[in-house]
């Protein structure tokens, strides 16, 4: 039994690695894609694009403008008139416009300075956060003005909340985005590779040939899953070491052995899901559609950007059947927090449970359809 299994796995692997465009895509998935996402997709409101219309052109206005800088803001241009401002906002070159009135300096001195801010509310979340940053900057500017005049802010009781961000003190988005992309790619590639490997045989009719061989359904499925694990896991390790740790200097806090032990189980589970899809459809195009219907909600309900407990209750319940939810939670806990098995065993149970169920379902369905 082992011999025919090994022979089948070798055939699958050879078929996979011979497909040059496919190999290139796999390299892109675990190389370029992770790099681009880590590099280019910022999760925070960094470099929020601002356009300035300074009608005052005074030291006071320049002082204010100088405070709008990285990391939160990026001044993308200085407008000459209202029309420039409107155009910058309309064309989305800037998401925030700061208009400083002509008599700003005088008004500031009399304590009545006002800056007009126009915010593009299209991306409402970003707009709200950028507004908060701007308020903080203005507050600091006021403190500075009052202190400069030797009249410190009226002494009021106040509590200062000093926020410290654990595990990612500078909120470096490259750490987060690259790791998330790695977990996404592991999921997407595993499900697609495995589903396609089985459907293809169905479509070409070679499945019937396989069925007359001594290969049992469980063996056939194992042979379809094994190459996915053999290809995905090393690529993931390479991406983690070379790009996530190498290029982005993400501190990997937890045990790599634990991470990859569970990743193997996870790839098995996702591959099982791919097989289930393959068993249910007739051709690759149908498989693709079903994949979309399953993969996208899964990506969406994974709790990747906000933890699962903040989802709407109905979504939280739906997400319980998504293996990705457990893997994301597991991945963050191990890679970012350095948690051990004592913390992540529930995730492992979730992944294993769903994986076992999927594999069993695929085998039963398959037997029902082809074996009598």
């Amino acid at each position: 039994m082992t011999r025919r299994l090994v022979a089948m796995i070798r055939k699958e692997l050879a078929q996979l690695l011979r497909d040059v465009p496919l190999v290139l895509v796999l390299l892109w998935a675990f190389g370029g894609s992770i790099y681009v996402h880590g590099h280019g997709v910022s999760t925070e409101i960094f470099n929020y694009p601002v356009v300035i219309l300074d009608l005052s052109r005074s030291p006071a206005s320049r002082e204010f403008v100088a405070r709008l800088h990285a990391p939160y803001f990026k001044i993308v241009g200085f407008a000459r008139n209202d029309r420039d401002v409107v155009e910058a906002l309309d064309l989305a070159r800037a998401s925030l416009a700061v208009v400083i009135p002509p008599d700003f300096e005088r008004l500031v001195r009399s304590g009545q300075g006002s800056v007009q801010v126009i915010s593009d509310g299209t991306l409402s979340t970003s707009a709200a956060i950028a507004g908060a940053h701007l308020a903080t900057i203005t507050d600091a500017y006021n403190q500075y003005l009052l202190a400069e005049r030797g009249q410190p802010a009226p002494r009021l009781s106040r509590v200062d909340a000093r926020v410290r961000v654990a595990y990612n003190p500078n909120e470096t988005s490259a750490w987060f985005s690259s790791v998330l992309e790695l977990l996404n790619m592991t999921t997407e590639v595993s499900i697609l590779l495995t589903a396609a490997a089985l459907v293809r045989e169905k479509e070409r009719g070679t499945l019937d040939q396989l069925l007359v061989t001594p290969l049992r359904p469980a063996e056939l499925f194992a042979a379809k899953i094994a190459p996915t694990i053999i290809v995905v896991v090393p690529l993931s390790l390479l991406a983690l070491l070379a790009i996530i740790r190498g290029a982005f200097h993400t501190p990997i806090q937890g045990s790599l052995v634990l991470f990859y032990a569970v990743t193997v189980v996870y790839v098995f589970t996702i591959a099982g899901l791919g097989l289930t899809i393959a068993v249910l459809v007739k051709n690759v195009a149908q498989a693709m559609m079903l994949l979309v219907l399953i993969l996208f909600p899964m990506l969406f309900l994974s709790g990747a950007r906000n933890p699962a407990e903040t989802m709407e209750p109905w979504m939280r319940y739906v997400s319980l059947v998504s293996p990705m939810r457990y893997y994301i939670d597991f991945g963050y806990q191990v890679l970012f927090k350095g948690n051990g098995i004592a913390y992540v065993w529930k995730d492992l149970v979730g992944i294993l449970g769903i994986g076992g169920l999927m594999f069993w379902f695929a085998v039963v369905r398959f037997r029902h359809a082809f074996h009598r």
Partner: protein, 369 residues
């Protein structure tokens, strides 16, 4: 070119219509995803689990804690005994923020008039951490308000903020027009990618090669049915956005539709291009998912303003058609802008389509030769 192109068109249309699963999913998937994302992607994060480490245990500290308990954003998980337990709760995710009130809290507040609390936030989710930070500051500011004198001391500079385009800052107003762009990308790119590859794999491509159909006939005949289905998807999603999600739409329907048609031609074209290059359906599927759908989600400006991305992100964004259509979609829905602004985007989409189909055309010849 009329008759062979037409023949292929008829054949592709029949294939599409005859398979109920195929056409059904093509029209049902966008609706399902739209409902899921539209209702689910609420950007207002609530239920932030917060725990408190109260070293002070004074009336003041209890009042401060109350401010969090009564905030609609936080779920109060309880008091922790010591730093060790606080760390434990953060680690396990039982709490996402821990507030550390120092022993001198009440004394400082009464004596110096100023006290500090330490807040530790779970940074595994940076965006979420930032949101929590904002909530903490809001609750804190609310707590401080009781100390303000009746007549507020004038700050030298105040901000006069007005919000354009989406005054109530409702997240559905940016998510739904964004979803329109994404959903119009998923179906055509993925199915288009299989169109020619399928024939390659099954060998029927040689029948096509041997037929009098020219390369342009093949591309035309294969693209048109899918473009039509994508446009149907567009109309369905648009109707849902207006009547189901009640997103305000103040721009020109015709400009949006013109852009949508061009965009549909582009996305089907991208699918065909992948199809012309990939040898197997497996490779085609992967390229379609990784090369079109994922970037459309991350790089088109769906989540963050394109202008804030760095050079790598912006170059990658400019290579996908979704970026150009995203501007038109959000712009027509929310900004009410029309042809005078978006002729550039229409032009860009048209140019994009030309390039994509030319490349596919060129690639197809190599296969024949």
């Amino acid at each position: 070119m009329a008759s062979p192109a037409l023949a292929i068109l008829v054949k592709e249309t029949r294939e599409l219509v005859r398979d109920p699963l195929y056409l059904g999913l093509a029209l049902v998937i966008p609706v399902v995803l739209m409902v899921l994302f539209g209702y689910g992607l609420s950007a207002d994060v609530k239920h932030v689990r917060v725990a408190v480490l109260d070293h002070d245990r004074s009336p003041w500290s209890r009042q401060y804690i109350d401010a969090y308990i009564h905030s609609e954003y936080f779920d109060f998980m309880g008091l922790v005994r010591d730093e060790h337990e606080a760390d434990e709760w953060l680690r396990s995710g039982h709490a996402r923020a821990v507030i550390d009130i120092p022993p001198s809290f009440a004394r400082d507040l009464a004596g110096r008039g100023a006290a500090a609390v330490g807040v530790t936030v779970d940074g595994a989710f940076p965006t979420f951490a930032e949101i929590i930070e904002g909530y903490v500051n809001a609750v804190n500011a609310q707590f401080n308000q009781q100390f303000l004198p009746a007549t507020a001391a004038g700050a030298p500079v105040t901000l006069d903020i007005s919000v354009w385009y989406n005054p109530a800052l409702e997240s559905k107003n940016f998510i739904v027009p964004g979803m329109l762009v994404l959903l119009m990308q998923i179906f055509p790119a993925m199915l288009g990618a299989l169109l020619i590859t399928r024939e390659k794999e099954s060998g029927t491509i040689f029948t096509l090669y041997a037929s009098p159909a020219s390369r342009a006939d093949i591309l035309f005949g294969k693209a048109v049915p899918y473009v039509v289905v994508t446009i149907l998807d567009y109309l369905i999603i648009f109707a849902m956005s207006i009547w189901l999600f009640e997103v305000r739409f103040i721009g020109s329907f015709w400009v949006l539709s013109a852009a949508a048609v061009l965009y549909a031609v582009c996305t089907v074209g991208v699918g065909l291009l992948i199809s012309a290059f990939a040898r197997t359906q497996l490779a085609a599927m992967l390229i379609a998912v990784l090369g079109t759908v994922t970037p459309a989600f991350n790089l088109s400006g769906f989540i963050a303003p394109v202008a804030s991305q760095d050079l790598v992100g912006r170059i990658a964004g400019s290579l996908i058609p979704a970026t150009y259509f995203m501007e038109v979609s959000r712009g027509t829905y929310l900004k009410g802008l029309g042809f005078e602004v978006y002729w550039r985007n229409l032009l860009a989409l048209a140019a994009y389509a030309t390039v994509v189909y030319s490349l596919a055309w060129w690639r197809l010849r190599k296969r024949i030769g």
